[in-house]
């Protein structure tokens, strides 16, 4: 069978808001899937040096609209998932 996978079909969508979006310079992009949730922040740090300390440490993460624990070793982001980095609220 022909290989029908593409970069897009083997990716998940990640959304950035507020200060996180200012840091990444984009509101949305695709990243390669699958990705264990425990590696998400390291992956982003590699792409956006300094983002961890500046923005991610105070943020939460959702996968398909559910808040998740980024230290959950059983959770792997799958292709097609919608992941979002949620900065703190308005306070």
């Amino acid at each position: 069978m022909a290989d029908t996978t593409s970069a897009e079909s083997e990716s998940f969508k990640i959304l950035y808001f507020a200060g996180v979006a200012s840091f990444t310079g984009t509101n949305e992009e695709s990243l390669p899937a699958p990705l264990p949730i425990t590696e998400l922040f390291a992956t982003l740090e590699k792409k956006y040096a300094g983002i961890r300390e500046k923005a991610l440490n105070t943020a939460m993460v959702t996968v398909n609209l559910d808040y998740v624990d980024i230290e959950d070793k059983t959770l792997v982001i799958q292709k097609g998932d919608e992941v979002a980095i949620i900065p703190p609220g308005m306070g």
């Binding site: 808001f17 200060g19 609209l65 949620i86 609220g89 308005m90 306070g91």
Partner: protein
Amino acid sequence: DPANPPPPQFIHEDPIYVGLTHAPLDIPGTIDKVRTPKAGAIVMFAGTTRDNFNSKTVKFLAYSSYTPLALRTLQRIAKSHITPPSEEHGGYSKIQKIAILHRLGEVPVGEESILVVVSAGHRKEGWEVAEEVLEECKRKLEVWKWEELEEGDGKEE
């Protein structure tokens, strides 16, 4: 695209009414959503754009959101305050109905960014729940504020 904003997102499942919209918030229409013969009190909070922040002049505030999640959070917050009838409240629910709306995009000075409206049998419960709901929204809602200052140095919160 400010010329073509996304459609408003509302959930109206009586006794709760929540929503996110780029349009100016409709105060009388929202109050009507919580009106009921069972209420002796309606408490409303409107958050408005103030012309100053830390001694700087504010041109406008702008709000962005993760809309599908924020809508779900609004619904969850609203529902959590609709409790079963109890002896303590004379055989009625603590509050009767609740509406929460948040505006998105630019909100000019003097206009509303958030409305929380609660109807209750008695005023004590109305005050209490309206203030609690507002604080929960400030803490939990997936909506973020941008202050556009006169000097041009906007500040993300």
